[in-house]
């Protein structure tokens, strides 16, 4: 980048701030805005959970009910089971199914969403089927899945995938259909090849909505992960919870539920982190108030 483009300065004054000023403005903007707002956002997000945890801790402290043991005992048991004990192997099995199921389903959703966008006749034909499968509660398919895939982890992965397809597929399709026609005219004027149109225009253009779909798919996947482990399974967190409940190990059961909550939260935050990075153009341009 050369600094020698002298004629630049004069016309830019007329346009508003010069380039240097724009940058400074932006940086100071970010500096003055971010620390305060981040702290506030974090506080808004965590104050209620903290209050509830504290309430739980104190209200359950002297509990003698076999169904609601003191939180201190649950945490102690959680440490024994999930950190020292063998329960972490259940976690590994669950996470593996979740990962394969989610990634597989999301990939299918993304690919078929794109195909349905690209080929409108295909879209018209498959529209009723897609919505039929979308509204069908995935757990209802468990018995069919058992018949199809047996009771192994393949069945679990298949069901998680099935549930993960639809939010991603529908959001991908919708996001791509929402891209401004002028951007496609521009692509034609620039003579972009079809693969380039896909990767330079269609996917980034639909990016924010695809991300929304992927996130909904992730939530569905976590739910289905637990559900599949609770029916005819021999491992996983769902199996662990159900098993503990059957033998009246209520405290142990609670540790499983706690672990699930942690998985859900961590997965969600990881997702948001990646999304904010990949779509940083989107969040930054929105923060600036332009489109």
């Amino acid at each position: 980048m050369s600094q020698t483009t002298l004629p630049t300065v004069a016309p830019e004054r007329a346009d508003g701030p010069s380039i240097g000023e724009t940058t400074d403005l932006l940086v100071t903007d970010r500096r003055t805005r971010t620390p305060g707002s981040v702290l506030r956002r974090v506080l808004i997000a965590v104050w209620l959970p903290i209050v509830l945890l504290v309430l739980w801790w104190f209200l359950s402290a002297s509990s003698t009910s076999p169904f609601f043991p003191p939180l201190s005992r649950i945490l102690e048991e959680w440490w024994n089971q999930w950190v020292i004990g063998d329960a972490k192997f259940q976690l590994a099995s669950s996470l593996r199914n979740l990962l394969f199921g989610y990634v597989g389903g999301a990939a299918i959703g993304l690919v078929f969403g794109t195909l349905l966008w690209r080929f409108p006749p295909m879209r018209r034909v498959s529209n009723p089927i897609v919505y039929f499968l979308y509204v069908l509660p995935a757990p209802a398919l468990l018995p069919a899945m058992i018949a199809l895939f047996g009771i192994g982890e393949l069945r679990q992965i298949a069901l998680i995938s099935f549930g993960a397809i639809w939010p991603t597929l529908l959001n991908t399709l919708d996001g791509m259909r929402g891209i401004d026609q002028v951007k496609f005219d521009t692509a034609r004027a620039m003579k972009l090849s079809p693969p380039r149109v896909l990767f330079s225009l269609v996917l980034p253009g639909a990016g924010p909505q695809i991300a929304a779909g992927l996130r909904a798919s992730l939530q569905t996947s976590i739910i289905l992960m637990v559900v599949t482990e609770m029916v005819a399974a021999k491992e996983g967190i769902g199996y662990f919870i159900l098993q503990a409940q059957t033998v009246f190990a209520v405290t142990t059961m609670w540790t499983g539920i706690l672990t699930l909550a942690i998985i859900g939260t961590v997965a969600n935050y990881l997702f948001v982190l990646i999304e904010r990075f990949v779509l940083r153009w989107y969040y930054r341009s929105r923060a600036l108030g332009n489109s």
Binding site: M1, S2, Q3, T4, T5, P7, T8, P11, E12, A14, D15, G16, P17, I19, T22, T23, L26, D180, V182, K183, D185, T186, R188, A189, M190, K191, L192, S193, R196, S200, L201, P204, G205, G207, W281, Y282, R284, S285, L288, N290, S291
Partner: protein
């Protein structure tokens, strides 16, 4: 380009066929052709543009100016008529055509930096990365933008964004630059700056420009010839020569007698029943 191409009343036949960049003959565009709701947007439009010329297309609003531009850029298919770009029949957007749309907010890709936006048509043409980077800086400088490569379009002012869009259209050195109301979305001061920018770019690069506008003053200030369209469905009402020479200056040119005379004549053409503007 020499001044002689701007001489008064050059008929289409007198222009050398070899240097003809764009020729439009009997162009007609009917939307929903053959259906009850068929609408003729363009009835019969013929004109041609020679190499190095600056031609503006003006007409009353709703005259199908944008439709005409979409047809001559190859984005839309005409219902009938002949279109040729550098002698070859025009069926798709030609390689050597640069397009600038009215709304930079809609035509630029907000997910790419300015450098990536400008370099996109170069990448599509297989220009190697190092060469691309150099070319992008060069062309950004030539539209009066320095070191904005790493910024995003939405971090710039409207006028600067339109400069990025112009740089993108110029990056692959097209023979013809086609612009659809390119300065309609910016404020008046920026508009003057961009008008002068496009005149200087045209002088430096010797590029042929066709610009669609509804602004008669802008058309006179910029062009060598003005194609005046009638209201919908459009026909060519008149092709007006603008013998103002190559050197133009916002204040002096716009105040000159020739300019005002042309302005009155064009207003008469565009608004036939309106009283004469003072």
């Amino acid at each position: 380009m020499s001044q002689s191409t701007v001489s008064p009343t050059p008929s289409a036949e007198s222009r050398a066929a070899g240097s003809e960049v764009l020729s439009v003959e009997g162009l007609r565009k009917i939307y929903n052709e053959g259906k009850p709701q068929a609408k003729t947007a363009i009835d019969d439009v013929s004109f041609s543009v020679t190499k190095g010329e600056f031609v503006c297309i003006v007409g009353p609003s709703g005259a199908g100016k944008t439709t005409l531009l979409r047809c001559i850029s190859g984005l839309a298919k005409p219902s009938s008529g002949k279109l040729a770009f550098e002698g070859a029949p025009l069926t798709a957007v030609p390689d050597q055509l640069g397009l600038v749309f009215q709304d930079y907010g809609r035509s630029l890709y907000p997910w790419f930096t300015n450098a990536k936006n400008v370099g996109l048509p170069l990448a599509a043409r297989g220009v190697p990365k190092a060469q691309r980077t150099r070319r992008v800086s060069e062309i950004l400088a030539s539209v009066g933008l320095g070191h904005v490569e790493k910024q995003y379009p939405w971090e710039l002012s409207g006028g600067m964004q339109q400069r990025v869009a112009i740089a993108r259209a110029l990056s692959y050195q097209p023979d013809l630059l086609l612009m659809d109301e390119p300065f309609a979305s910016v404020d008046a001061q920026t508009r003057f700056d961009l008008e002068d920018l496009i005149l200087s770019v045209r002088r430096d690069l010797g590029i042929t420009v066709v610009l669609v506008t509804h602004d008669i003053d802008e058309a006179i200030y910029l062009s060598d010839r003005i194609v005046v369209l009638s209201g919908s469905p459009s026909r060519v009402r008149e092709v007006v020569d603008v013998p103002l020479g190559r050197q133009r200056e916002q204040v002096a040119t716009r105040a000159s007698d020739e300019f005002l005379g042309l302005r009155r004549h064009l207003l008469d053409l565009v608004m036939p029943h309106a009283p004469h503007a003072a």
